[in-house]
């Protein structure tokens, strides 16, 4: 029998609206799953069970009297611990903020979900200040000896295991798409500037994006609709009204033109990843899309630009604390911040120029081929062992996960495009593999349509992590 916490966000929402399911039942189910799995997953830094129960009772009464607010009403969600959640400290998994006081108000995006009736289960583990892909001590529900990716790793593990039905993540170099891929769920990195970042601790202000992780494309599309919008007080917020990401979901994809960027994105992959992604291309063709080879000659440039910008801006974000309390940083981030504090300004400006070149190149690619989207693997490898943080290739070579998990995602932080990461198979160990569907700026509606059509046809969404499937 399906537990309420195993429903998708949209399935649960339909049942909640029609009173076939109570928010109290749903929250109790999510809390029970959290209780069952947390000793192995360590996905949460704090849990507010009583607060969630109280909110569920209120939501139950509201829905009963006809005040249903929409698809997030009564839904248990988790919040990455770089987002301000009123009354809870934002510690960013760092000793630097160990004694930081509770947040006095919600981040703008969190406040929007609160207004939409979402119920906060707790805050999830991130890599220190969202700068990496390991998210220790969180683990992967498909194999708890492995990492959940990151930096939104706790959010990914929580959604995949059912202790929340959706979660907040942030993506500067792949930190939504990577944990989505590694945990076998869906993640939406929105167009840069369409979701307010006020109240979210920055990693790299010109690359940072805020977005959802969920079990299905429709889940993240509805979540995105709830949190997106122009914020005049956020300097990175755009002036273009965000798209309704659900607008095209359910439409077929016959005749859509989808590009495959084979060089760079296929240069070094674990073989099971390569074959799963190739099989996915066939599904798109079978669905009637026109799959076209579209080499993008600026992919390497985009990745390098993204990397430099990310590292230099992070050094500036932490300029004061790396001087005042360097010992409080974990060694990996400390070294990164110390060394990149010495990187020359001209190198940073070259990266900003290269970013403009890469963005223009991607725009031309879409125009030249009249594309609706492009496809790429989400990660070069599947979930790595927590005690061996490398991705291994058939020739025996190894690549640190912080590179293997971001090499294929960072280019799209440079271009600022929206990307949905969607499950596209499993490796020989039963670990999930992800695919990126990349769209035009403000094209969340089109990529969600494409990813949804694939998700429904491919069938990977029926599998559940071993930890919860018994």
């Amino acid at each position: 029998m399906t537990e309420p916490c195993d429903l998708t966000l949209i399935e649960a929402a339909l049942q909640l609206e029609s009173a076939r399911l109570s928010p109290v039942e749903l929250i109790e189910s999510a809390l029970a799953r959290l209780e069952q799995t947390e000793s192995q997953l360590h996905a949460f830094v704090s849990v507010d069970a009583e607060g969630a129960r109280s909110a569920a009772r209120i939501a139950e009464a509201e829905i009963a009297r006809g005040d249903y607010r929409g698809p997030l009403h009564g839904i248990p969600i988790a919040v990455k611990d770089i987002f301000d959640l009123k009354g809870v400290p934002t510690r960013c998994n760092s000793r630097v903020r160990e004694h930081y006081p509770p947040a006095v108000e919600d981040a703008v995006s969190v406040a929007k979900t609160r207004s939409a009736g979402a119920i906060f289960i707790g805050k999830t583990v991130t890599q220190e200040f969202a700068a990496g892909v390991i998210s220790d001590p969180a683990r992967n529900p498909w194999d708890p000896t492995r990492i959940p990716g990151g930096s939104s790793g706790g959010s990914g593990a929580s959604v995949a295991s059912g202790s929340s039905l959706a979660a907040f993540g942030s993506d500067t170099g792949g930190s939504i798409r990577n944990p989505a891929s590694i945990n076998g769920i869906v993640g939406l990195k929105p167009t840069y500037g369409t979701v307010s970042k006020r109240g979210v601790f920055p990693l790299s202000w010109s690359l940072d994006t805020v977005g959802p992780l969920g079990k299905r494309v429709a889940d993240v599309a509805h979540f995105y609709n709830a949190i997106s919008g122009i914020d005049p007080l956020d300097t990175s917020s755009g002036t273009t009204r965000p798209t309704d990401a659900t607008a095209e979901i359910g439409q077929d994809i016959r005749g859509l033109r989808i590009g495959v960027m084979r060089p760079f994105f296929f240069d070094r992959l674990q073989p099971d990843v390569a074959s799963a992604v190739e099989r996915a291309f066939s599904v798109f063709s079978e669905l009637g899309a026109l799959v076209i080879e579209t080499p993008w000659d600026s992919a390497k440039t985009a990745r390098a630009a993204s990397f430099v910008i990310n590292r230099v801006e992070a050094a500036e974000v932490h300029r004061d604390t790396i001087r005042s309390t360097p010992d409080l940083f974990a060694e990996e981030l400390r070294l990164r911040l110390e060394s990149n504090s010495l990187f020359p300004a001209t190198g940073y400006l070259r990266a900003l120029k290269a970013r403009s070149v890469a963005k223009a190149s991607m725009a031309r690619l879409f125009a030249d081929f009249n594309l609706d989207a492009v496809l790429a693997p989400a990660s070069a490898g599947t979930a790595a062992l927590a005690n061996d943080l490398n991705t291994t290739y058939p020739d025996g070579s190894e690549e640190p996960v912080n590179l293997a998990y971001t090499r294929l995602t960072m280019p799209f932080n440079a271009t600022g495009q929206p990307v949905v990461a969607v499950p596209c198979g499993f490796d020989r160990l039963g670990l999930p593999i992800g695919l990126q569907v990349v769209g035009r700026p403000f094209g969340e509606d089109r990529i969600c349509r494409i990813a949804h059509a694939y998700e429904q046809a491919a069938g990977w969404i029926e599998r559940k992590p071993a930890l919860i499937s018994g």
């Binding site: 840069y192 500037g193 400006l349 900003l352 403009s356 223009a360 031309r364 125009a367 035009r440 700026p441």
Partner: protein, 76 residues
Amino acid sequence: MPERKSSAGGYKAIDEEVIAILAKIEGLEFPTERLPAIAQRLRDMHELASELDSVDLTGSEPAIRFDPTWAKGGAA
């Protein structure tokens, strides 16, 4: 068109002594025992950044304030 000069390789000269000088300019204080690791990280960063040396950036404006919008017709 003049041949573009590459800076490739210059970063390899970054050593503990260079780090100590740069740190002093930047107002950072690094314990001596940390200098080799910091030097290695900075060399790695320059090596990755050197991938941009071959990119023609003539006429391109730095994305100081990033705008994701594409102009009509696909041009950025």
